[in-house]
């Protein structure tokens, strides 16, 4: 009997410490600065326990039933503490307020436990023995919890389930107390029913724990996440909202399925339709296969080489059913050869000559990507373009990054291309720009493949017309040793994004 009583002390002490550790860990994960987080959490928690101990003086009657109620409250609140905090982080802006309120609430309840229990037990033991035993088991529980938490709980169970597990232990202690102290309870059945309800709720929480973290992740994107992969190169996330699929690479929108045809038709057809008898084509970047889908509308093309850095990207777009639907299984076509390589060194090694080249890299928002927009890169590219061939370069927005757009145009010129800049409106991106480069004089195509949704033989010519607000501005070419483009781009987008 005695052992069982003190085991309860051990367990509730362990639970109390676990909630404190969970709050501290979560706060340092989510807010950073672990020293600050742990210090303030431990401080607030101990302070709250002090308040609890002080409040215990105002509880005069029905000690056992109060104790059981408090245990159940701690179990619920503590058990769901990490769930509440994860969700608060994802959905609200008041994470800190909630964090400290929760820490105070749990602390106060935990602070009430031991004084109440000691008062319940004081009839059975002498004061000296009671204090010694209760405090011994209290501290032992703390030791057990502090070892268990980093070694077993966090790595094996994770924060959400660990909290719930200890919530269950609190509820278990409550239930057990209804038997231990049944003499003090006028109607133990009601208490037992309450315990059972709490255990059920917590067990239910345990079952759906996995969904909780997923939900928190998807809350960072507005829509349902249907695919999320972290590769050595990037984080690939595909979201869905009704019939709109959106691809994000490192949180940058790559396309929306509702209007990507505008982007990709405009990327491919003005150039490719103008190269009579094109047989060999090259796509640099564009692992989503959407540009390739457009290129396969030319039966005369015999081979398309696609060079994309990330094998996971081309793998997903050649196997995932939803993605296959988007790119019409373009990457599985026998004419398509996929190469997973870094484009610049690959092009240095390659000795192919192509009739049409699509250069579809992410925007030049850092110096590594900026290399792929330099005179050095375009000069190398020129050696791979057939005499009457063409290249097209996705060139960011002439509206939002006007100088960057004209910088890419200037860079291609410096590398020896004749350039023909053009633009189109893609709702999810805004006004978007492209630069076509050729080795000889060039005229827009007069005929396009059938079945296009945006471009017609009639409207292609109008893409090359720039209204005054998009008209050329002077810009320095982008060279490896002086990446002006990265600076322009950074400056221009900083003015827009707040």
């Amino acid at each position: 009997m005695t052992v069982v009583l003190f085991l309860s002390v051990f367990l509730i002490a362990a639970c109390g410490l676990i909630y404190e550790l969970i709050a501290g860990t979560l706060a340092s994960y989510l807010l950073g600065d672990s020293v600050l987080q742990f210090s303030t959490i431990i401080g607030s928690y101990l302070f709250a326990m002090g308040i609890g101990s002080w409040l215990s003086r105002f509880i005069d009657r029905a000690l056992v039933s109060r104790f059981i109620t408090i245990e159940l409250m701690v179990g619920l609140l503590g058990g769901f503490s990490s769930t509440i905090l994860f969700l608060a982080f994802a959905y609200t802006t008041g994470f800190r307020v909630l964090l400290y309120s929760l820490v105070l609430a749990i602390g106060i309840l935990v602070g009430l436990e031991i004084p109440l229990l000691m008062r319940i037990l004081k009839e059975r033991f002498g004061f000296k023995e009671l204090v010694a035993n209760v405090l011994t088991f209290d501290y032992l529980g703390a030791l057990g919890a502090s070892l268990l938490f980093p070694l077993l709980l966090v790595p094996k169970l994770g924060l959400v389930r660990s909290a719930i597990l200890f919530g269950l232990i609190n509820a278990g202690v409550a239930l057990w107390s209804t038997f231990l102290f049944r003499r003090h309870l006028p109607s133990p059945l009601i208490q037992r029913a309450a315990c059972a309800a709490v255990v059920l709720v917590l067990a239910g929480g345990m079952a759906v724990a996995d969904h909780i973290t997923d939900t928190a992740d998807s809350a960072l994107y507005a829509d349902e996440v249907i695919l999320a992969k972290t590769t050595p190169y990037q984080r690939i996330v595909l979201t869905k909202w009704k019939q709109d699929y959106r691809l994000y690479l490192n949180s940058h929108l790559q396309f929306s399925s509702r209007d990507e045809y505008r982007y990709h038709e405009t990327l491919v057809h003005p150039g490719l339709a103008s190269v009579a008898g094109a047989r060999r084509a090259l796509v640099l970047g564009g692992g989503d296969g959407l540009a390739v889908r457009e290129m396969l509308k030319y039966p005369g093309l015999e081979s398309i080489t696609l060079v994309d850095l990330d094998p996971e990207m081309t793998r997903q777009f050649s196997t995932h059913p939803l993605l296959l639907e988007l790119n019409a299984a373009a990457l599985k076509n026998a004419k398509v050869h996929i190469v997973n390589a870094d484009a610049f060194p690959w092009l240095e090694r390659d000795n192919g000559v192509y009739d049409f080249v699509v250069v579809d890299f992410p925007d030049p928002n850092n110096y590594s990507l900026g290399k792929l927009y330099t005179t050095a890169f375009y000069r190398l590219l020129r050696h791979h373009v057939a005499e009457n061939g063409a290249v097209v370069v996705q060139s960011t927005s002439p509206m939002f990054a006007r100088k960057s757009f004209w910088c890419i145009n200037e860079t291609l010129k410096q590398a020896g291309f004749k350039t023909f800049p053009y633009h189109a409106y893609v709702p999810s991106f805004g006004e978007w720009g492209y630069v076509l480069g050729t080795r000889r004089d060039w005229q827009p195509p007069t005929a396009l493949p059938t079945g296009l949704r945006f471009l017609t033989a009639g409207n292609v010519r109008s893409l090359f017309d720039f209204p005054p607000d998009l008209a050329p501005v002077p810009a320095e070419p982008n060279r490896l040793n002086d990446q002006t483009l990265v600076r322009y781009y950074d400056q221009e987008w900083r003015e827009i994004v707040r």
Binding site: P232, Y233, L309, D342, A343, F344, P345, E348, N366, Y367, S368, L369, G370, K371, L372, T374, T375, A376, R479, L480, N481, D482, Q483, V486
Partner: protein
């Protein structure tokens, strides 16, 4: 199953050893018969075996650094092929030597060449030959240092450029401006040129007087006391000349800033640093080069010289002496006067990183410097790669041991074992990269006791320096020590002008 005692021992070991990753590495170029050991055998007049072979040859170049190779380059392009170049080490290149591992090639010392201005025809000619300078006058973009070029870790974060910009007061900025203005004036005077010999005639008494004081003294006289400017100037003189601003001749310190036109883009750089140039020179000139050939005596004959090395003695009409000039008094018989210019000890290290440390703010640059660090920071050997992604990398870390007397610093350099230096290096890097220990898998160290001349006051206009730089007789000096400024351009100029002197005199001997 471990016994209890074993278990206890492991637990204790776990308490003492830090849980860092295993780090491999060694000192390089220190095998027996190489580097320091070989040099000290010469100094101590060790006995050498008598040579078995006697070879008659019109000219011998002693020393295969940039000066010696440039002399060979000049001989070769003038159609003169009857010479050998003798190099003590297993690898020619001197301060432009390089190494290579699975991740990247990397330099062991000199790692860049400033884009030469129009007044440096020799460097232009070499660059044209190496394909760095195109016929239309543009520089090859591939080997101009890519963006971003330089950054400085100051007040806990990285800023662009290595001239401190963070935390400057108005007074600091005014001092920067004053300094710039003075430098612009010195630049216009034409007294500071590369090669330095080209500007000496323009030196007025006031310019010559600058060689009588230290850079620190000159700054005091100019009222330049901004801590940021002082750091920047001190960093620059340590970086190029291995000497503190407080110790360097003001003339040499100002030469660093005033000798180059400011508008040029650059510099030119390669993964293996100037080793890239050396490799190309060796591809062309390798047939003249004998490595592992330690010259231990150069003896004057009635006509010409005997050059003793290993099993061969060369009977030469002319010797181009391109080895470190302070060796000359131990090698040459009869010995020339003692060389008066001391040399600076350096340490370079190449760190192979399995992964990059966490980085915030300014992206990794080619040159990465830490404010108020005793070292000179690190250069990223993989910076000129064209990949958009580079998982592993090699960093070349530089440290000029410029505090106090050079001899004391050499004792420290050679006294510390690999572990001691490894700790010094990682602790220094930890200021800017707290997680560096988790990234480095290999750390190799090159200790260079006599890396370059130390241009302290009086060195530039020292009569012995001027006399030694003037070619006469049939042994001519060619090391860049003669300029007291360790620069690629100086070494090339010294080598070429010595070779040119030999060609002029050899032809006059031949016609006679």
């Amino acid at each position: 199953m471990p016994t209890r005692r074993e278990f206890g021992a492991t637990a204790l070991a776990g308490l003492t050893a830090k849980a860092d990753r295993k780090l491999e590495g060694a000192f390089v170029f220190e095998a027996p018969g190489q580097g320091v050991e070989a040099g000290h055998r010469l100094r101590d007049h060790a006995r050498f075996a008598a040579p078995a072979r006697r070879v008659r040859i019109p000219a011998v170049i002693v020393g295969g650094g940039v000066a010696g190779l440039s002399a060979a380059w000049h001989f070769d392009r003038r159609g003169f092929r009857d010479f050998v170049l003798l190099e003590l080490e297993q690898q020619a290149g001197g301060n432009a030597r390089s190494g290579e591992n699975a991740v990247s090639a990397y330099p062991w010392a000199a790692h860049y060449l400033p884009v030469p201005d129009k007044r440096q025809p020799l460097v232009h000619e070499l660059c044209r030959e190496l394909g760095l300078l195109h016929d239309d006058g543009t520089w090859d973009e591939r080997w101009l240092c890519h963006s971003p070029q330089e950054r400085l870790f100051i007040h806990g974060r990285w800023q662009e450029g290595i001239e401190p910009l963070v935390g400057l007061t108005k007074a600091d900025a005014a001092q920067y401006a004053h300094f710039e203005e003075r430098i612009a004036g010195f630049r216009l005077s034409g007294a500071f040129r590369i090669p330095m010999e080209a500007g000496l005639a323009q030196n007025t008494a006031a310019h010559r007087a600058l060689d009588g004081v230290t850079m620190g003294e000159w700054m005091r006289r100019e009222g330049l006391y901004s801590p940021y400017l002082k750091w920047f100037i001190d960093y620059s003189t340590r970086d190029d000349y291995g000497t503190r601003a407080a110790d360097i001749s003001a003339w040499a310190g100002l030469h660093y800033f005033a000798a180059r036109a400011p508008e040029e883009k650059g510099p030119l750089t390669w993964p293996e640093g100037n080793g890239w140039i050396v490799k190309r020179l060796l591809a062309k000139l390798g047939r003249y080069v004998r490595t592992g050939a330690m010259v231990h005596r150069i003896q004057r004959q009635r006509r010409g010289w005997l050059v003793f090395t290993g099993d061969t003695v060369y009977e030469a009409d002319f010797v181009v002496y391109a080895a470190p000039t302070h060796f000359a008094s131990w090698l040459i018989d009869p010995p020339p006067p003692r060389w008066p210019i001391d040399s600076a000890p350096w340490l370079t290290a190449n760190l192979t990183l399995d992964r990059w440390p966490a980085n915030h703010g300014v992206e990794f640059c080619w040159d990465n410097v830490i404010y108020n660090s005793p070292s000179l920071g690190y250069v990223i050997a993989t910076h000129q790669n064209l990949n958009t992604r580079q998982d592993k990398t090699v960093w070349t870390y530089y440290w000029a041991l410029a505090d106090g007397r050079a001899a004391d610093q050499r004792r420290i350099l050679l006294g510390g074992d690999w572990n001691w230096w490894k700790e010094k290096i990682l602790t220094d890097l930890e200021r800017a990269h707290p997680d560096i220990r988790r990234c480095v898998s290999r750390l190799d160290i090159f200790r260079i006791g006599h890396a370059m001349p130390r241009p302290v006051p009086g060195a530039i206009f020292h009569p012995e320096r001027i006399a030694r730089a003037r070619h006469q007789g049939s042994l001519v000096y060619a090391n860049c020590d003669l300029s007291a400024l360790s620069l690629f351009e100086e070494a090339q100029y010294r080598g070429v002008s010595a070779a040119d002197y030999v060609l002029r005199n050899a032809s006059s001997t031949a016609t006679r």
